[in-house]
């Protein structure tokens, strides 16, 4: 039936010439241009915002360096820009920031990487199904909560654990570093775990087939193969630690910029200085106002250097599989 029908239809269709379809557009497609323009605008907006941030940082920074020499700023060891005869040596708060970053990484790298290895290589599927999302939630925990936790729990706890240290006041830069470390553990763990999971299973099998045990497979094959992702995780975490404000403001305090390197006492970091000083009653154009932006620019530069360095490192260590 159908076959004969079809057979009869097709010659008719052939006879009844189908009109050739025109190749020119029926009407100009304005919609397409609008969409394209809108998308371009969005892209331009994000670039524009970034440029605006840099410019807004730069203008007051330039103003600042008209009053204070770059050398004095970068090498001075006294930091008291708020006073009438202010000192503008940024080193104390740079050291404060670096202290926090180093301690945070010392805490977070081992914990984060060991968790990542556990999750990627050892954890039973069910355990992983619980812990991995939990880590991702922890990444989004408000830093003010961690700050309070640091101030009211970690700080007294630290005094009990290390009674021989020179605890004074309510603040401690060391505890602030630990608290920031806790903040970035989930980030390091989760990103490194992704990197290790994406190592092809064939590499693991190859190592197991040589009589390697699980630890050797994890540490000597999977870990090095994932190193570029792991370095990326650490750098991301480092940028986050450099820029962290709320925790250090709460736990390390905003005052007492000093070069004492005493972990048991409060100290100021660059972000804490900015966060503590930039209140509504600062007049635009004053030296203090300009100082905030100078510190901001330096912070921006430091993060930039870390990121550039990381990109090179990742390229160098990249163990490409495939």
């Amino acid at each position: 039936m159908t076959a004969s029908q079809r057979g009869s239809v097709s010659p008719e269709a052939g006879a009844e010439e189908t009109p050739r379809r025109p190749l020119g557009a029926a009407r100009p497609r304005h919609g397409e241009k609008v969409v394209k323009g809108f998308l371009a605008l969005c892209a331009a907006l994000s670039v524009g915002v970034t440029i605006a941030i840099v410019v807004s940082l730069l203008t007051p920074t330039i103003g600042f360096f008209r009053e204070v020499s770059v050398v004095e700023f970068l090498t001075g060891t006294q930091w008291s820009p708020g006073f009438a005869r202010g000192e503008f040596g940024v080193l104390p708060i740079v050291v404060g920031t670096l202290t926090v970053v180093v301690i945070a990484l010392l805490v977070a790298i081992p914990i984060g990487l060991l968790s990542a290895i556990y999750l990627a290589e050892y954890a039973p599927r069910r355990v992983r199904a619980v812990i991995k999302p939990a880590l991702e939630v922890l990444e989004g925990i408000p830093t003010v909560a961690i700050g309070l936790f640091g101030l009211f729990l970690l700080r007294p706890l630290a005094e009990q654990i290390f009674p021989f240290m020179n605890w004074r006041g309510d603040f401690s830069i060391g505890v602030a570093g630990v608290a920031v470390g806790l903040l970035i553990v989930p980030l390091i763990a989760s990103v490194s775990e992704d990197a290790m999971r994406s190592v092809p299973g064939g590499l693991r099998e190859g190592a197991y087939a040589l009589g390697a045990n699980k630890m050797r497979v994890s540490l000597r094959v999977v870990f090095p193969a994932a190193i570029s992702g792991i370095v990326a995780a650490v750098v991301l975490a480092m940028s986050r630690a450099i820029g962290e404000t709320m925790i250090v403001l709460l736990v390390a305090g905003a005052g007492n910029p000093n070069l004492s390197f005493d972990l048991a006492r409060g100290a100021q970091t660059m972000t804490a200085y900015i966060g503590g000083t930039a209140t509504g009653d600062i007049a635009t154009g004053t030296t203090v106002y300009n100082t905030i932006f100078a510190v901001g620019s330096l912070l921006f530069l430091m993060t930039l250097v870390v990121n550039l360095f990381a990109i090179r490192l990742v390229r160098r260590f990249r163990e490409v599989y495939e």
Partner: protein
């Protein structure tokens, strides 16, 4: 960790020599002569392009090559409730090349991975029946799969060199076994054994992944033999390679037979005919929508390709299989 030299897996070997169901009836010295035990059916098959010269070592009086390395007794492997391959009974002989052939999905890889307990890495996999290795049950309670894999190495379908230097790739296995001395010699010997030394001796520090596919696979073979295993399992080692690289690997496999017992999975029948001494043909049985692989026929390669006993084997090797 145990560092004892005799791996616990290779204990005494009560060997079961002498006649056995699968032993060839006719030790005809000249394989090209062909007819062997075959009757009328054999003559037909001689015209087939698939009837190629089986490997050497057909020579009479070779009792040694009939020493059993593996005895499989009613081995079945299931993934969860799916039985992938069932009731396989066959013996694998020392310094023989044993080929496993059959359509895709019939469980060749699955069975092969039982022989060095790689299936232990798949949580859902379960092995029933007995795999006897030199008289010892490979799945016995005191057998450590990690030790097993040091004695029974494996080469995979897709070349999987580690993203490390050529040297470190080869040294990985020996280092896993705790060997520290004479590493240079070990690496050289393994690379020579894998017919790769001349091509890489000047670039041992370059990444294993910089080699061509065929070289990578020979690197993987070098890596496997660097630990001096007794058996090398190969899962379609040439399927990702071009014809020239394939021929090189086949040459190499034939050479390796002098020192190693080789079990090779292939779905290239000419390859099985070219390199192997014994061939096992597997097929899939479908019942109630479940596909289970089964051993159809196991015999001398010459016999399988000239006068197969089973109709399904004949159909498969003559290309009549769908």
């Amino acid at each position: 960790m145990t560092t004892d030299k005799d791996a616990p897996i290779s204990g005494e070997m009560p060997r079961n020599e002498g006649t056995d169901a699968t032993a060839p009836a006719d030790p005809g010295p000249d394989a090209d002569g062909g007819p062997g035990t075959g009757g009328a059916a054999g003559t037909e098959n001689l015209d087939s392009p698939l009837h190629l010269r089986p490997a050497e070592l057909r020579g009479g009086g070779e009792v040694e090559h009939r020493d059993k390395v593996f005895e499989l007794r009613k081995v079945s492997v299931s993934y969860g409730s799916h039985r992938a391959v069932g009731d396989v009974s066959m013996d694998v002989f020392q310094r023989n090349i044993t080929a496993l052939i059959g359509p895709s999905g019939c469980g060749k890889s699955t069975l092969l991975r039982c022989l060095n307990r790689m299936n232990d890495l798949v949580p859902s996999a379960r092995v029933d029946g007995e795999v006897i290795y030199h008289g010892e049950n490979l799945y016995g309670p005191r057998v450590d799969p990690v030790q097993v894999r040091k004695v029974i190495g494996m080469v995979f379908q897709k070349p999987n060199p580690f993203p490390k230097s050529i040297y470190d790739n080869v040294a990985f296995g020996p280092r896993t076994m705790g060997i520290k001395q004479n590493m240079d010699d070990i690496v050289e010997e393994a690379l020579r054994g894998a017919a790769l030394w001349d091509e890489v001796k000047d670039k041992l520090t370059s990444n294993g992944l910089s080699l061509s596919g065929g070289q990578q696979q020979r690197l993987c073979i070098a890596r496997a033999i660097a630990v001096k295993p007794e058996v090398v399992l190969m899962d379609e080692p040439c399927s990702a390679l071009d014809p020239i690289a394939t021929l090189k690997i086949e040459d190499l496999i034939r050479q390796l037979k002098d020192e190693y017992t080789i079990v090779i999975v292939t779905h290239n029948m000419q390859q099985a005919a070219r390199v192997s001494d014994m061939t096992a043909f597997f097929s899939v049985r479908t019942s109630e929508g479940k596909r289970t692989g089964e051993l159809v026929e196991y015999d001398d390669t010459e016999k399988i390709f000239s006068t197969p006993a089973d109709r399904r084997t004949e159909d498969y090797i003559s290309g009549r299989f769908g």
